[in-house]
Symmetry: none
Subunit: 210 residues, 4 copies
C-alpha cells in the first residue's frame, strides 16, 4: 500500500517535472519551434522518458492547458459559490479570478486557441480530449450562470446569457492577446492591468440595465 502509493506519487512528480520544463520551453519558442529534445534537456531527462509520461508532443502541450483549465474552473465555481453576493459583485470577483489565473499562467489564452485547432485535436487521446471539453463547457456554463441571474433580476440588460458570457470571455482574452502581441506585457504589467480595468469598467457599465 505504502509502496504503491509512493510510486504513484513519484510518477506524478515526474509528470509535473516534465510539465514545468515543457511550459518554459513552449513559452520561449512556441509549439512548433519547441522540440522534444529541448524539453527533455530542460527537464534534465532523456527524450525517451518524455514518452513514458506523455503520448506525444501534442498531448504534452494539451496537458498544460488541462492543468490551467482545472484551476480556472475551480476559481470560477468559487466565485459562483459566494454567499450573499449579487451578479454584480460576482462579475467583479470573476474578473479578479480570471486575472489571477492569467498571472498563474500567462499562456492560458494562447494554449486555449492552439488547443482548438483540428490538427491538434486529432492527436489527443479521447480521455484527455473529453476531459478538456468537459472543463471548458463547465467553465463557460458557470460564467453564463452569473449573467443569467443578472438578467433575471433585471440588473443586467436583457441579452442572451451565453452571448454575454462569450462577450465577457472575448474581451478578457482579446485584451490579453492583443497586449501580449504588442509585447507590452514584458515592458509593463501595469499597462495590461490598466487596459483590462478600463475594458472591464466599460463592459460593466454597458451591461447595467439602467
Amino acid at each position: 500500500m505504502g509502496i504503491q502509493e509512493r510510486k504513484e506519487r513519484e510518477k506524478e512528480r515526474r509528470r509535473q517535472q516534465i510539465m514545468v520544463a515543457a511550459k518554459r520551453v513552449f513559452s520561449d519558442r512556441g509549439f512548433t519551434k519547441a522540440t522534444m529534445e529541448d524539453i527533455a534537456q530542460e527537464a534534465e531527462l532523456s527524450p525517451g522518458t518524455l514518452y513514458l509520461y506523455f503520448k506525444n508532443k501534442e498531448e504534452l502541450y494539451a496537458s498544460l492547458s488541462l492543468r490551467i483549465l482545472q484551476y480556472l474552473l475551480l476559481r470560477i465555481e468559487h466565485v459562483n459559490a459566494i454567499k450573499d453576493s449579487g451578479p454584480d459583485e460576482k462579475l467583479t470577483a470573476l474578473m479578479e479570478a480570471m486575472y489571477d489565473v492569467y498571472e498563474f499562467d500567462p499562456l492560458i489564452i494562447i494554449n486555449m486557441f492552439h488547443l482548438q485547432s483540428s490538427e491538434t485535436l486529432k492527436n489527443l487521446s479521447p480521455e484527455l480530449l473529453s476531459e478538456i471539453k468537459d472543463l471548458s463547457r463547465k467553465s463557460m456554463g458557470s460564467i453564463a450562470q452569473i449573467f443569467k441571474d443578472g438578467v433575471a433580476l433585471g440588473i443586467f440588460i436583457d441579452r442572451h446569457p451565453v452571448a454575454l458570457a462569450d462577450t465577457f470571455w472575448s474581451i478578457f482574452s482579446g485584451v490579453i492577446l492583443w497586449l501580449t502581441s504588442k509585447k507590452l506585457i514584458n515592458e509593463s504589467k501595469d499597462f495590461l492591468r490598466e487596459t483590462l480595468t478600463v475594458a472591464f469598467e466599460v463592459f460593466h457599465r454597458g451591461l447595467m440595465a439602467k
Copy 2:
C-alpha cells in the same frame, strides 16, 4: 521609361498572383502545414519563382498581413473623414468598417497575432517590418482619435483614448478569435455577427458618458 514601368507593373502583378494563392493555401492549412510547394502549385508557378518575389515563407505570410493592414487603415481613415458626423456615429461606422475588413479576409486577426511572434519578426526584412509597424500605429492612432474626440466632447467617459482604442480592438479581435476557435463561424455566420453586435452594443453603452 515605359519599359521600366511596364516591368515594374508586371512584377507587381506576379506578387499579387502569388499572394492570392498564398492566402488560399494559408487559410486552408495554416502557416505551419502550408508548404511553399503547395503555394507554388496553387499559383501555377514553380517553387523557385516564389523566392524571386518573397525573401522566404515568413515574409510571404507577412506580406498578406501588410495588404490587409493597408486596407484596414484606408477604411478607418475613411470613417474619420466623414463630415458632419460625431464620435458616436463614427464609432458605429468603425465597427461596420472592421466587420467589412474581416469579411474581406477572415484571417486578419490570426495573421496579426502570428505576425507578432518574435520568431516571425526575426525573419522579416527591416523594410517590411517598419512598414507593418507604421501601418499598425497609424490605424490604432486613427481609432484612438475617435475616442479622443468623444472624450473631449463629453460624449464618452473620460478614460485614456488609447486604452479605449485598445479595448475596442480587443473586443473585436477577441470575439472573432473566440468564435473561430469554437468553430462556430463555419456553422453560422449569423452567430458571429450576433455576438459581435451584443458585444459592441454593450461596449457602446458602457462608453457613453451619462
Copy 3:
C-alpha cells in the same frame, strides 16, 4: 517534344540509378538494417532525392521486385511461345529460364517473400500493388499452362496443374533459399547448380506419366 522526352528519360535514368544502389544495399544488409541514408550514399544522392522517385522505403524495395517479375514473366512467356515444342521441352526450357532470372538477380526469391508480408503491402501504392499482383498471377498462370498441356497430352501424371506449378515453383525457390541460407552460394555456384539439376531431374522423372 524532344525536351519532354529527354526529361522523361532522364527521370527514368535516375530511378534506375537509385534502384541499382538500393539493390546493392538491400543485398548487403537486408531490408531492416539497410537505411535510406545508406542507399542515398551508395547512389551518391541526398536522402531527400530518394523520396522524389519513390514514395517510401517499402515502395523502393518493392520496385526492385517489380522489375525482376517483369523480366521473369517475359522469360516464361517466351518459353510458352516456343513453336514445335512439347510440354517436356518447355519444362526444361522453363527451368533454364528461371535459372537465368535467378542469376540476373539472386534476391528474387527473398524479395518475393518479403513482398507478401501484410505490413509491407499496407505501405505500397495501389498501382504498384496491383501491377505486382498482376505479374505474379500471369507468371504462375503461364507456368501452370505448361503442366495443363502436359497432363492433357498424357505426358505428365494427372494432377491438378496449379498444384504441379506450385510444386515446380516451390522446388525452385526452396533450393535457392535453402542453399542461400547455407551460405553455399558464395562458396560454390556449381553446388547450387548441381543441386538444382538433381532436384529438377527428380521432379521431371516423377512427373512423367509412365
Copy 4:
C-alpha cells in the same frame, strides 16, 4: 546438491516460460515488429528479467529455433531407427515426421532462414551457434543416410545422397514458404497438405530407380 539442482530446474522453467511467450509474440508480429516489452508482458515478467535468461533479442529468437531443431532431430533419428523398414518406407515416415514438426511449430522454416542471416549470426553466443550448427548438420546427415541406403540398395536413383537430402528438404520448405506467402495456409490447411502431398508424390516417383 538438491538445492543446486532445484535452482537449475527453476531456471530452466523460467527459460521455457519466456520462450513460450516469445514464440507467441514472434509468430504474431514477426521478428522486427515484436518488442522485448511485448514478450515480457506476454510472459508476465519485466523486460529486465528477459536479459537474465537470454543475452539479447536475437539469441532469444535463436533459442526457439534450437528447440525445434532438437525436436526435429529426435523425430528424424526415430525414423531412421525403425526396424525392418526400407528406405522407401523411411522416406514416407520422414515426410510425416516433418509435417508433424511443422504443425508443432509452423514458424520452423521461417526461423531457419532468419537464423542464417549473417547479421543475426554475429549476435549469437558461440556456444549457441555451434549447438545450432551441430543440430542442423546431424539432421541433414540423418536424412542423407536414408537416401544413401536407398541408393546403395538400388531402390533410389544413383545421385549424391546429400543432393537428394537437400532436394527433399528444399521441396518441403519451399512448399511451406510459398504457400505461407500466398496466405493460403490460414484459409485452408488442406490446400497446404494437398500441395505437399502432390509434391512429395512427384519427388518420390522421380526418386525410384526404375
